[in-house]
């Protein structure tokens, strides 16, 4: 069982890397190496327990967001699911263990994390079905052309509200709006994995489709965060560049998610798995020396999205 599962996951990773492209990988790998070295330097001041929490936090978010929970429950017994999850999460943790060992030279990170991972695998999968309370969440204030936003608020409105509130509740801290806007935007991009059908697409299509698609989304995002930006500038005017950076990054991440959605759109397909690349893109935005890669990606995916839209709906 384990070799088959590892082989399957490896094939997925290989194809994902292939879709990223050799050129971008050649740029990304050395930059990631530099990033890891920087991380190692920071980590040397940490207690290893925080690092365990970081790894467990990353793996928990993967566990709670995985879409194959029902598939696993349908086809595997509980003990088999436990083995699969333990295997996957342990493999994900290996790079973290290597970093931890290089930073702290302490082996305790491994047993503590593994115990936490084993406990984590016992957390039930989130039910993905429709819940009656979802229709009770008021979304009429969101323009219908931003249907992805309505979907997001129905799907995880509480999380979005909470991340939005972080900016206000943490107004005393300079980093709060940065965390709030970025988390909010990254959560929001999850709904751009779902593709509208051809009829809906065709009904709205015209020659400036992409630009007219992106602009209202960005306007709405900035309108929603305008109070936060204003409060931030009132309290932390001297750090205006942090507020600006948060706004720019959030806009870029949302634009990328939309471009990625249409760069992979195809008829009769409900979902396009964009989350890995959106996560990578967010990383490129956040790490200053990777920022140029993010800009290049925006251009590359704008061209890809335009090409894809024009392929299915040629002009004229």
């Amino acid at each position: 069982m384990i070799p088959v599962w590892i082989k399957m996951r490896w094939q997925q990773i290989f194809r994902t890397l292939k879709s990223v492209g050799l050129l971008l990988l050649l740029i990304f790998i050395p930059l990631a190496g530099i990033g890891v070295l920087g991380l190692l330097k920071t980590l040397q001041n940490w207690h290893f327990g925080y690092f365990v929490l970081l790894i467990v936090g990353v793996i928990t978010s993967i566990h709670l967001s995985r879409g194959d929970g029902r598939f696993l429950q349908l086809h595997f017994a509980k003990a088999e699911i436990f083995k699969i999850l333990l295997l996957e999460y342990s493999l994900i943790a290996i790079p973290f263990y290597l970093i931890a060992f290089a930073a702290f030279a302490e082996w305790q990170v491994i047993p503590f994390t593994q115990i936490a991972i084993a406990a984590l695998t016992l957390i039930p999968f989130r039910e993905m079905g429709h819940h009656s309370f979802q229709t009770k969440i008021p979304v009429d204030w969101i323009p219908i052309r931003l249907f992805e936003w309505r979907f997001a608020f129905r799907k995880f409105g509480a999380v979005l509200l909470l991340t939005w509130l972080i900016g206000f509740l943490g107004v005393r801290f300079v980093g709060a709006p940065l965390v709030s806007t970025l988390l909010f935007t990254v959560f929001l991009t999850a709904v751009f994995e779902y593709l509208e059908n051809k009829e809906l697409f065709l009904g709205r299509y015209h020659h400036r489709f992409l630009r007219d698609k992106i602009a209202p989304h960005l306007k709405f995002l900035n309108l929603l965060f305008l109070p936060q930006y204003l409060i931030f500038f009132i309290f932390h005017g001297e750090y205006w560049y942090i507020g600006l950076a948060a706004a720019v990054m959030a806009n870029m991440i949302l634009t990328f998610a939309i471009l990625k959605k249409y760069a992979t759109w195809r008829p009769r397909t409900k979902r396009s798995h964009i989350s890995t690349q959106v996560a990578l893109f967010s990383l490129f935005c956040i790490v200053p020396f990777l920022f140029p890669v993010a800009l290049i990606w925006l251009v590359v995916f704008y061209r890809k999205a335009t090409g894809r839209v024009d392929y299915f709906f040629p002009k004229g």
Partner: protein
């Protein structure tokens, strides 16, 4: 008596249970979502080697019925836990997960995997299952990514995964949905083989002829229970009743005022 079915290189081997005592039973199944009760004290039984159809309008609870049989409405909110009751037995013992295979209307597929790689997941449990034989029926491009498959092709590859489980009870939720005429015939062929092998198959469909062509009995799901059962001899009556009911329903709705 042990039933064996040999079809070319494939062997479907049923369990060693006797034909006489082998029975699938659902007792007083009650289930729902949130505050809504969808199935109320539903009872059902089916002997080995039969195909049963479940019929009902959209929202009647067909999928909830399958989900509940599979034990999926396990719920977070207390009100659901309070509503979920009943039991499902196979040959007088509580049914186990490995005895049921469930084809969902909209099955999940891992991204960036080929059809063959997807089927290899099922080889973990059943390494001898001959996918090549079954693919002679479906003619799927198993080396292509599933992401490029059409709706019907996805349905076929998911069905092959379900067959590989060689479960005693198969729940097929709208297996005919989105497939072409040739595939409909292929599914008829598979259902016949499953019946001959002594399996119990429950299936739903919105296309009445697909049920009347295959099922030994059809159960009409309404108001949370099977309010009427139709044996083969009653199928013409079922068709008439259904037509009449739908017409009445439409006329009622479209009455002026």
């Amino acid at each position: 008596m042990v039933l064996w079915l040999h079809c070319s290189s494939v062997t479907i081997e049923p369990s060693n249970h006797s034909t006489v005592f082998f029975m699938f039973k659902i007792n007083n199944l009650t289930s729902g979502y949130g505050e809504k009760v969808i199935l109320k004290d539903l009872n059902f039984e089916c002997p080995r080697g039969q195909i049963r159809g479940v019929l009902g309008p959209n929202g009647a609870g067909k999928t909830t019925f399958f989900n509940s049989v599979f034990g999926f409405i396990k719920p977070l909110p207390k009100q659901v836990r309070d509503k979920f009751s009943g039991n499902v037995t196979l040959d007088e013992s509580p049914i186990k997960q490995e005895q049921i295979a469930y084809l969902e209307t909209d099955p999940y597929f891992y991204p960036l995997l080929t059809g063959q790689e997807y089927l290899n997941i099922f080889k973990i449990k059943n390494p001898t299952f001959d996918f090549e034989y079954w693919n002679r029926l479906f003619d799927l491009p198993l080396d292509n990514l599933i992401d490029t498959y059409s709706t019907g092709m996805r349905k076929k590859v998911a069905l092959m995964g379900i067959l590989a489980q060689e479960a005693e009870v198969l729940l097929l939720d709208e297996p005919f949905n989105g497939v072409d005429l040739e595939t409909v015939e292929s599914i008829y062929f598979i259902l016949e083989k499953l019946r001959d092998a002594g399996k119990i198959v429950l299936l739903t469909s919105h296309v009445l002829p697909t049920l009347t062509s295959t099922c030994d009995q059809i159960h009409w799901l309404k108001d949370g229970h099977f309010f009427k059962n139709f044996a083969k001899a009653d199928y013409p009556q079922l068709e008439q009743e259904l037509q009449q009911m739908i017409r009445n329903h439409i006329e009622d709705r479209m009455k002026p005022g």
